[in-house]
Symmetry: C2
Subunit: 94 residues, 2 copies
DNA sequence: TAAACAAGTTTATTTTATAAACCAAATTAT
DNA sequence: ATAATTTGGTTTATAAAATAAACTTGTTTA
């Protein structure tokens, strides 16, 4: 009846991050922060969790003198997202 | 871009409860428990939260000698559900 | 009549989400 | 030149949530 919801994706901010990355193939910290309206601290923590789970890959580079944190979705992350979308739909139908 | 997700509905079990009630117009504790596979304790707590928020109405009756907890969705709950469905869709599109 | 079961509730514990505080380097203002 | 502010974050602390474990009350069943 109801499919289980991956707890890593069933979180407003983490879902937003992954949603961005599924569509964009790469996005940096500043962009994600602006788009999600999250605080830096919260965003930092949630990016770490997604990275630790292998759902996203994080690359830290310098753009001129400024640090830049680039995030990309992984194959695993993409699969998890697709499963999540499928799962949550089982709750949304009337 | 991303709509906010009502925290009361953005919970696996509470969303399942509301999803059942949106479709069924009434369901009792035992039925909801069976359908969601939740533990009694968890279900009891989450039903209380939804009731306190005015999303569902709870009626306690006796069926013969057995207590029965009947739940129904309220107008407010239905609206909240519909908004939630709309909101989460903003995260699911590719 | 003792043990098991049904239908829940209450309490305790673990996890989460989130914000607040902090840090280092760079930029801007004085 | 140097003090103040901004940028791009990280770390730590706190509040809220989810969940399970323990308990309660009444009813069947052995």
């Amino acid at each position: 009846m109801f499919k289980r919801l991956d707890p890593l994706l069933h979180s407003e901010l983490r879902l937003a991050i992954v949603s961005i990355l599924v569509n964009l193939n790469e996005a940096d910290f500043v962009y994600i922060k602006k788009t999600t309206q999250a605080t830096s601290g919260n965003l930092s923590v949630q990016i770490d969790k997604l990275a630790e789970a292998g759902y996203i890959a994080v690359e830290k580079v310098f753009e001129g003198k400024k640090p830049k944190t680039i995030c990309r979705i992984t194959e695993e992350g993409l699969n998890a997202f697709e499963e999540y979308v499928d799962a949550i739909k089982s709750y949304l139908q009337k």
